[in-house]
Amino acid sequence: MTATAAPTRRITTAKAMAEAIALEMRADPDVFVMGEDVGAYGGIFGSTTDLFAEFGADRVMDTPISETGFIGAGIGAAVEGMRPVVELMFVDFYGVCMDQISNHMAKIHYESGGGVKVPMVLMSATGAGYSDAAQHSQCLWGTFAHLPGMKVVVPSNPYDAKGLMASAIQDDNPVIYLFHKGGQGLVWMEKNPRSIAEVPEDRYTVPIGEAAVAREGSDVSIVTLSLSVQHSLDVAEELEGEGISVEVVDLRSLVPLDRQTVLDSVAKTGRLLVVDEDYRSFGLSGEIAAIVAETDPTMLSKPVSRLAVPDVPIPYARTLEYGILPTREKIAAAVKGLMA
């Protein structure tokens, strides 16, 4: 994080991602971009904005709707020493290409006994909140984090989005980069002001594997990620007025997972709320609770509280969808529940 002195200006998360990719492409001719509508369109969620104009069709390649084909091609190019940045348009589409992701991209380095590297970034859009229903609204970060061999990063704001993308591209390992559509700062979607923020113009990295204490507090620890960090910070500010001091831990990366920052926060507050937009069971919220339970359950002055999607597919109608998403209202209620 060298760049704090450098000139900054306020940009969206989407622009920050695209800028990080552009800086790495300028610095390294082996970096290129592949995916559906990443060219002239600039990525459906803006992650490749303006790259096509600067780098052209050879380095910003639109693909057929063949995710197994082009993600596999990304792996092959990475094995040959290039550094592809491949976009899977929606993470919900993982199922048509999960073999390449989990049996090849993630395992080749290990299977080869370290002889082969796969320096590749797979970025994908996650999240709900705009009635895109069951097949276009999932987070699924827990699914990727469960499978060994790929790093999983999940930025929550423009500064981290740029710095984590730079780190992901420079990393010699496959990195899954999951951004939240609702946190991109897109003009055509409801946005939280935190999706537009000050970002240094020059090249910098945010290390993969370090959680951030997005806000310090003493009563309750909210451990969360992605767009839910923005919601949690809103709630923390609101509850401050009611005399409740909320600490917000932004995990930023799930693999590697920064266990210590989680444990330090819970040791301080004694109250843990995990807020996760992924499905509740067998995923992130369970893992965070388990970290405490296997380290020292006596840290907890209250049972752990989990706020996540209650193991249902994401429904279409707004009333239904907001009925199962971790909204500010539900986060606030859960915090108060821990204080009761």
């Binding site: 559906e36 509508d37 060219g39 002239a40 369109y41 459906i44 639109d62 693909t63 057929p64 709707i65 063949s66 995710e67 197994t68 084909g69 919900d92 589409f93 199922g95 048509v96 909140g129 705009y130 009635s131 895109d132 229903a133 069951a134 097949q135 276009h136 003009v187 055509w188 979607m189 409801e190 209650p310 193991d311 249902v312 597919p313 429904p315 279409y316 109608a317 707004r318 009333t319 239904l320 969808e321 907001y322 009925g323 199962i324």
Partner: protein, 312 residues
């Protein structure tokens, strides 16, 4: 075709009506992504004319024209698009996930994945000794997805009563066909499975009708699957809100609109008068208006309804 067009035009209008001032895809009476089928009516009408109750359709993310042509109730479908409890799926599915068991109609937002499902519906029809058929619909972009290949091989191998429809509208979002597909006609790919394949040019509804008739007869006779690629037209954006800056063929779009073109032919041949066409349009508008009124008048689901129907 007119009925479908009047429906899509009205949905277009209603979709955008209350998204201002700040255009927000999630806001308004019709939230979420909206993929309209204007320009592609000949495909749906020409195919569905040969289908009856008991025949199945799996459609993709752009489903309205096939749904309406196949007989899905306009009121229930519209209520679903509005996310109401009276909708086909009680508001859970939405525009990309319309399920009508009575008409064996379904659609999915995942490219080409309806192809294998249609094979299974056809397999059940065959096992039960019926003469029913399953129609699988996808776009030309979808024909490069692995599921397309697996489904065609399976259907040909097992001689299933399936008709595979490819709507070639030249575009997959912003990607032109030439940048997605290594050959010029997907009908040629059918040969790789020993399956008859035809390509219908020029968005010609009568040619679609003929090709589909032959394919459906073949399937009903137990002679196996067929593939029909239809060169059609995406009259509007990929989804609503798509500025189509990438689109190089916009200037030619209006003159290629199949409805005025076919209307002119019918009038010229004396099959219909302008007045009759206006009547058809007026009748359709009335039906569409009623459907929208029904949707708006229907209740929205309660938040906790989201917890139902995970398991039967």
């Amino acid at each position: 075709m007119v009925r479908i067009r009047q429906y899509e035009s009205r949905i277009l209008q209603e979709y955008h009506a209350d998204k201002s001032p700040a255009w927000d895809i999630g806001a308004g009476l019709i939230p979420g992504e909206m993929h309209l089928s204007a320009g592609q009516e000949p495909a749906a009408v020409g195919v569905c004319a040969h289908l009856g109750l008991g025949d199945a359709i799996t459609a993709p993310h752009r489903p309205h024209h096939f749904a309406l042509a196949h007989g899905v109730d306009m009121n229930a479908m519209t209520a679903e698009i509005y996310g109401r409890t009276t909708g086909l799926c009680k508001g859970k599915g939405g525009h990309m996930h319309l399920f009508d068991p009575e008409h064996h109609f379904s659609c999915s937002g995942i490219i080409a994945q309806g192809y294998p499902v249609a094979c299974g519906q056809a397999l059940a029809m065959k096992k039960r000794g019926t003469d029913r058929v399953a129609v699988a619909v996808a776009g030309e972009g979808a024909a490069n997805q692995g599921a397309f290949h697996e489904a065609l091989n399976l259907a040909a191998l097992w001689e299933l009563p399936v008709i595979f429809i490819i709507e070639d509208n030249d575009w997959a979002i912003s990607v032109p066909r030439a940048d997605s597909t290594a050959n010029t006609s997907n009908a040629d790919r059918a040969a790789g499975y020993g399956m008859p394949g035809v390509r219908v040019e020029d968005n010609d509804v009568e040619a679609v009708f003929e090709a589909a008739g032959a394919a459906v007869d073949r399937a009903r006779a137990g002679e196996g699957p067929s593939l029909i690629e239809i060169h059609t037209l995406r009259l509007w954006g990929h989804f609503e809100g798509d500025a189509q800056a990438y689109r190089t063929d916009l200037d030619t779009v209006d003159e290629r609109d199949p409805i005025p073109r076919y209307a002119a032919v019918l009038v010229e041949n004396g099959d219909l008068t302008e007045a009759q066409i206006d009547d058809i349009r007026a009748t359709a508008d009335a039906e569409v208006d009623a459907a929208i009124q029904h949707a708006i008048a229907s209740p929205t689901p309660e938040p906790d309804d989201a917890l139902d129907h995970v398991f039967a």
